[in-house]
């Protein structure tokens, strides 16, 4: 991003300055801000103010009933945050979210990577069709897909019927505290591996062909080419995809909300679901505090992973 910014800035500033004196730059600034105004308004009302306000709310004891009299609430400092971490359900939800990330990210990346490798291995027939099919889940609606998942995974559903045909008695997936999470994660993986695949495909296509030809001439096996050429060259892509998916999954809401409502016994409740539940209960202060914990986690993950990227390359 910064690399594309620099030359463009130079070019754009160079042209008007030769053509126009000072007064015209002031006019141009006014015109430019006019162009930016509609976006700027939406940004102020729906991003900037809400972010600052959420931070402020998280330090107060505001509840839904206080909305009409926002100045009557008390400043409570870090109380909400302390209460959060004393709340066993919040700690459980943090662990659930961590599990979602720890299993979901590698699985999504693994599937995406293997499919990208396969599609990039020189096959030509069906390549476009296969790519379309693998990417299609990305554009699906999560409410719709969650219903299909419920239909397929309920006790007498299609999945258990298929399992029965090969002699397994299928469990009641979504009502079992140990099995619900894997099914929820599977839905997340299904909806996201296409993104990983497309990003890996783009990374693979950027590796020059002659590197492989040279390695093959030197007698390197396909496996060694993969380990010593493809994987190192794909490191930036890999880190980018992992940051992206980690940030997605840290905020996971739709899949557990729709499939299990966070149950059974809270086994699939994520931090975002906790935020939503507190909001629904009118605990706006607690809800904002929980959302800032997510924001902090997202920021930390992005910073750490980008540091990692920089030190490795």
């Amino acid at each position: 991003m910064t690399t594309t910014l620099a030359p463009a800035t130079k070019r754009a500033t160079a042209v008007p300055r030769t053509a126009a004196p000072k007064a015209s730059r002031a006019r141009r600034t006014a015109v430019a801000w006019l162009f930016l105004a509609p976006f700027g308004l939406v940004f102020l009302v729906y991003t900037a103010i809400p972010t600052v306000a959420a931070l402020a709310l998280s330090l107060t004891d505001i509840r839904g009933a206080d909305l009409r009299t926002p100045f009557a609430v008390d400043f409570t400092g870090a109380d909400n945050y302390l209460r959060l971490f004393q709340d066993d359900t919040f700690v459980r939800d943090i662990l659930n979210t961590a599990l979602f990330v720890a299993v979901g990210v590698p699985l999504t990346m693994g599937v995406g990577f293997v499919l990208a490798l396969a599609l990039n291995s020189g096959i030509s027939r069906l390549r476009g069709v296969l790519r379309t099919v693998f990417f299609a889940p990305v554009v699906t609606n999560v409410v719709a897909v969650a219903l299909i998942w419920q239909y397929a995974f309920h006790a007498d559903g299609t999945v258990n019927k298929l399992l029965g045909a090969v002699g397994f008695a299928g469990p009641n997936w979504l009502d079992d505290p140990h099995l619900a999470m894997p099914v929820v994660i599977l839905l997340g993986v299904w909806r996201n591996f296409g993104i990983a695949m497309v990003l890996f495909l783009a990374g693979l296509q950027a590796v020059p062909r002659d590197v492989y030809e040279a390695a093959a001439l030197d007698g390197a096996s396909r496996w060694r080419q993969l380990r010593h050429i493809t994987l190192p060259l794909l490191l930036p892509t890999t880190l980018m995809v992992s940051v992206l998916l980690t940030v997605f999954y840290l905020q996971v809401f739709d899949e557990p909300y729709l499939l299990t409502g966070g149950g059974p016994l809270g086994s699939t409740e994520s931090v975002a679901l906790y935020t939503y539940r507190q909001f629904g209960a009118g605990e706006f202060g607690m809800s904002s505090a929980a959302s800032f914990v997510t924001l902090a986690l997202v920021t930390v993950v992005s910073v750490v992973q980008f540091r990692l990227l920089r030190s490795r390359t």
Binding site: T13, L36, I49, T51, F279, F292
Partner: protein, 273 residues
């Protein structure tokens, strides 16, 4: 690759493709089965008798006509907003020289990184204060100028030569005329990408409309579908729910098949959906 490996690779890929499409197949097959049939044999892969009754029931008794209209209206506001507001901002950031440009671009980048879960509570409070709770405008507005769209247009605008715009300026064209008559037509691919992205974003959005819509008259399709599935009477009425799922997914899937390139560019190019 050697000759033996290639058929095996194809076989594996086709198998993966079939697994990927399985949920679509389940959805379509279930939506075409009657309630009685699903009750007596819930796990059957294919319908014994095809029926379109679920689809007619959706529109006749479940209010899906209204939800569909609401979804279309919200998407139209969102897409129009992105084409105008986000393109104008992206254009200014790339092509106009002005005081505060770096600040404005920093704001766009920061806005892309704020997680929705961090702000939806206060976004909702503001929406209530503006009197937009339970309105279609309240649902549409936060998405009507996506920072992602600004970013996409800005990146594309950088590749358009300044000379084209400068020539128009020398001919005496005003800034707005240059934007509408010269820049927008040149930025076609970027505008197509943000149209698709913002449509997809609006059509599939769930949690925000769920928070803002408080009556059936403002439900969008995903919210209406979720509400239908939570109504106790429909707990086992999977045919009806799956028909709803198909109605929600079909427009996007058709668009995706027609305009794949822009979907892939938009989503993979930015990693956001």
């Amino acid at each position: 690759m050697n000759r033996a490996a290639r058929p095996a690779l194809y076989a594996a890929l086709v198998l993966c493709a079939l697994l990927t499409t399985l949920p679509f197949a389940w959805g379509v097959s279930g939506s075409l089965r009657s309630l009685d049939e699903i009750r007596s044999d819930p796990g059957a892969l294919l319908p014994h008798h095809l029926t379109f009754g679920n689809f007619t029931r959706l529109f006749e008794t479940q209010g899906f006509g209204r939800f569909l209209v609401n979804s279309v209206v919200v998407a139209m506001i969102v897409v129009a907003g992105n084409i105008l507001a986000a393109s104008a901002a992206g254009y200014a950031l790339a092509k106009l020289d002005f005081a505060g440009r770096r600040l404005a671009f920093g704001a766009v980048m920061a806005a892309m990184m704020v997680p929705f879960t961090a702000v939806f509570v206060t976004q909702f409070v503001i929406t209530v204060d503006l009197g937009l709770a339970d309105t279609l405008a309240g649902i549409a507005l936060p998405g009507a100028a996506l920072p992602l769209s600004v970013f996409i247009v800005r990146q594309y605008a950088l590749s358009i030569p300044d000379e084209l715009l400068e020539a128009a300026r020398i001919d005496g064209a005003g800034e707005f005329r240059i934007f509408f008559r010269i820049f927008l037509p040149l930025a076609g691919p970027a505008v197509a990408t943000i149209t698709i992205m913002s449509f997809l974003n609006s059509w599939n959005n769930f949690i925000w409309p769920l928070v803002v819509a408080q009556s059936m008259s403002t439900y969008t399709l995903p919210v209406g579908l979720a509400a239908t599935s939570q109504a106790a009477a429909h707990v086992t009425d999977y045919g009806l729910l799956l028909a709803g799922a198909i109605v929600v997914m079909l427009p996007v899937l058709v668009l995706f098949l027609l305009l794949q390139r822009y979907f892939v560019q938009g989503i993979a190019g930015t990693g956001l959906r």
